[in-house]
Symmetry: C2
Subunit: 465 residues, 2 copies
């Protein structure tokens, strides 16, 4: 079984030139620190925030996930995830990467498993409209929230619970599976009392690191994804990213190269898959990077306001949207391509000799060649313009290679936290917004905050046109 | 009929504080320059690159678009756009904004018009899979390329032309509508010879400014969008954005505020709709901003490497992904919210008194209230953290208000080009990538470049793990 690879030639001075390139010596100079980081993180892998390291080895949970998934897939046309952020992005990424590219729109007779929907917003038009395409009684719902206090998720839980009860009475219980904390939070007591079937969001695993827990595994297993191979790939990546030698460890190298780039003013980290299927891996990584590494304070408690801004792009599509900026704009970006060695299908461009030179050369090539040529061409153009870029290469697109990729990026994020000297596993910045939402909706205990907000609104000078 | 509004209170020193806020005096100081910019741009609105200014008034073209759209909508189940970049993003934005939120997945009996697909990538798996969900013989295809040399579009043109011919013989011609240059390029000669029906990409209108030309209008009219109201909204915005007084002109104000922010180090411009329907307006704007305003050279020919990086985000979804970064990360962003006053549907959160305080307060509220409270809460949290933000407000979501918004953003982009002193209507940076693609695919005339690339590859030092 093949391994993913990480090619960072175009980050280095040899390709990128003196001004923008990184020198071997700079990487060598990080060798000791890199070794210390690997040791430190790996020695704490059973600690809080880091327990996702062991998700590839959860045999019992995996068996339970697969058993219930088989049952649900046999009974229902649809699997609907009710979750947001880390409770949604993993399933979305795996769906795009590993199911038929038009899975949800396939006619029933061509679709190997249930349709998979992830409802990660509360837009009333969008949710109302959902009932026009999915019959709740033909669907199982996976409600995912560790704390059980996520307003978006709980609201939808209430919505679909009622929709099911209206149609099925108390039998509705069988169609809702709740993934939440083992003991605490607001949902576990309801699981017990109402006898929902449930999975556990493991202790010490934050939402953005939960894709390989039941959070990501269960709904994607229902839809037909090979979760065994996914975890096997992750396990392989675990072995490979423990290596203490910097030049041998692609997670550590990726972390160090991104960090060196950030220190040189490359505040923006673009992830650009040349694969329609991998577009949502970039969306998943966007959360992982932003929430983990953007922090106001370092570990000493000093204000640092650090953090690369992740940007998701898509090859070839965004060549016609963002490439002008990446080539000619400020030198504030580093681009990470995701490349696929060989695609599942070979699709030929039919020849037509029209007498138009811009048309005639294409016939006889394949779309595979075209996509690869465009990816290569973009890499060449960026590099010649002095723009730092690197590539993760998946020899082919399957659960085993995607498992490697996701896990490698998670490990790289943990190592990056050490380089930035910040806590990569909290997200203190989102608290203020949650509190203001509670206050505005009149949740008990938030009356003073509501008063404050109303006073501030009255006093505000409004500028509008 | 109601107007959109632009609220920039949270850009100003009164809300944002001394350190991050902009002063009234700074805007007043731009009044004379602003007036000169409006005059200069408006006086050249019939010139090259700017002729999209008059698209709201194209009566004859509009009648032709609607007539053919009606015909196609009556005959086919699907409308498939073959185009990329500016030939795709307008239709995608309008589809999301103005059709049923699950339009393409609605059962035939519930769907008021054909399904609308936009194939803006060349991924072989994705394109192969498309044949599993769409029967070419039941579809009309709109091939869009001004030059007729866009490799991605031409390849797909060849693919679907053959698919149709295999099924329909020469009758296939009736199902392909070509939107291209009036005279030049590679497609116009084929239109004439093969007698495809066609529309014109108007002279002096770049792809990213073409949404209100037949490029964006025809496919969306087929799917059932009210293109009259769209243009009426744009015409209104045209009147309003000609105002020479800076405080009265929301396009000019938006341009000036963004430019002042950029000069203070806010290199990143986030557009964050609190509306699932507007998510692809942010994707459309992302191209408009990046290609128009990211430039290596100013008009004097000096290297400046300017350009904000656009980022698309989505409320409430990205509160659980990017908000940590926006609140606690570097002060390098300005956020533009898109807010909707009232949604089409009112959707109640059903009450359930569970004894859990994190659950019980939600029942009886509506998803509309929840979405608005979260949008307000995010705005408050950002502002209190000193993070610049502003909002475009659409009183409701319809073709008239969306037409206003798109046109206003286009005008703002033209005005911004003057502030940056760059040419907002070219995209020289993408040429190198195109040439490299031609070279790699063996297009005649690019043999030397191919040789160069091969030599460089042989000599390259590879760093990979």
């Amino acid at each position: 079984m093949e391994s993913i690879a990480f090619d960072f030639s175009n980050m280095m001075v040899e390709q990128l030139g003196e001004e923008q390139g990184i020198r071997r010596e700079e990487i060598n100079a990080m060798a000791a620190r890199g070794r210390a980081i690997v040791q430190s993180v790996q020695n704490h892998r059973h600690g809080d925030g880091l327990r996702w390291f062991d998700l590839p080895y959860q045999k019992e949970t995996l068996a339970e996930v697969k058993a219930l998934a088989r049952q649900m897939a046999g009974r229902y046309h649809n699997c609907v995830v009710i979750g947001i952020g880390g409770s949604a992005l993993g399933a979305i990424a795996l769906r795009s990467a590993l199911l038929h590219p038009w899975h949800n729109q396939l006619p029933d007779e061509k679709r190997p498993g249930p349709r998979l929907f992830v409802l990660d917003n509360v837009d009333p038009d969008w949710l109302s409209g959902f009932f026009d395409v999915v019959a709740p009684e033909e669907s199982c719902f996976n409600v995912i929230s560790k704390s059980g206090s996520t307003a978006e998720t709980i609201s939808q839980f209430l919505l679909f619970r009622q929709a099911l009860r209206e149609r099925l009475g108390d039998h509705y219980i069988k169609q809702m599976i709740v993934t939440t904390d083992a003991k605490g939070g607001s949902l576990r007591p309801l699981v017990r009392r109402e006898t929902f079937r449930s999975f556990v969001v493991p202790e010490g695993v934050g939402g953005r690191f939960s894709v390989l827990s039941p959070v990501g595994l269960f709904p994607t297993a229902v839809a037909g994804i090979d979760v065994d191979a996914l975890l096997a790939g992750a396990a392989r990546a675990d072995q490979e990213t423990r290596h203490e030698e910097i030049w041998q460890n692609r997670a550590l190298l990726y972390a160090v190269l991104q960090w060196l780039s950030y220190r040189r003013g490359k505040r923006i980290s673009v992830m650009m898959p040349y694969s329609q299927a991998l577009r949502d891996v970039a969306a998943w990584y966007r959360q992982l990077l932003a929430e983990s590494l953007a922090k106001r304070k370092n570990r000493a408690g000093e204000d640092v306001f650090v953090g690369q801004t992740p940007v998701k792009a898509l090859g070839v599509t965004d060549q016609h949207s963002q490439m002008q900026l990446y080539i000619d704009g400020p030198f504030d970006k580093v681009v990470t391509f995701l490349r696929v060695g060989s695609f599942h299908k070979e699709l030929t461009i039919p020849p037509w000799q029209t007498g138009q030179s811009a048309v005639d050369y294409l016939g006889g090539h394949s779309f595979n060649e075209l996509l690869q040529a465009e990816g290569d061409a973009t890499t060449i153009a960026l590099t010649e313009a002095g723009r730092a870029n690197a590539s993760f290469i998946l020899p082919e697109l399957n659960a085993y290679t995607v498992g490697q990729l996701l896990y490698t990026l998670e490990v790289a994020t943990a190592y990056s936290g050490e380089l930035y000297d910040i806590n990569a596993f909290d997200q203190p910045g989102v608290e203020a917004g949650k509190v203001a939402t509670y206050a505005l909706l009149g949740r008990a205990g938030y009356e003073n905050r509501r008063q404050e907000i109303e006073t501030a609104r009255r006093r505000a000078t409004r500028f509008a046109v």
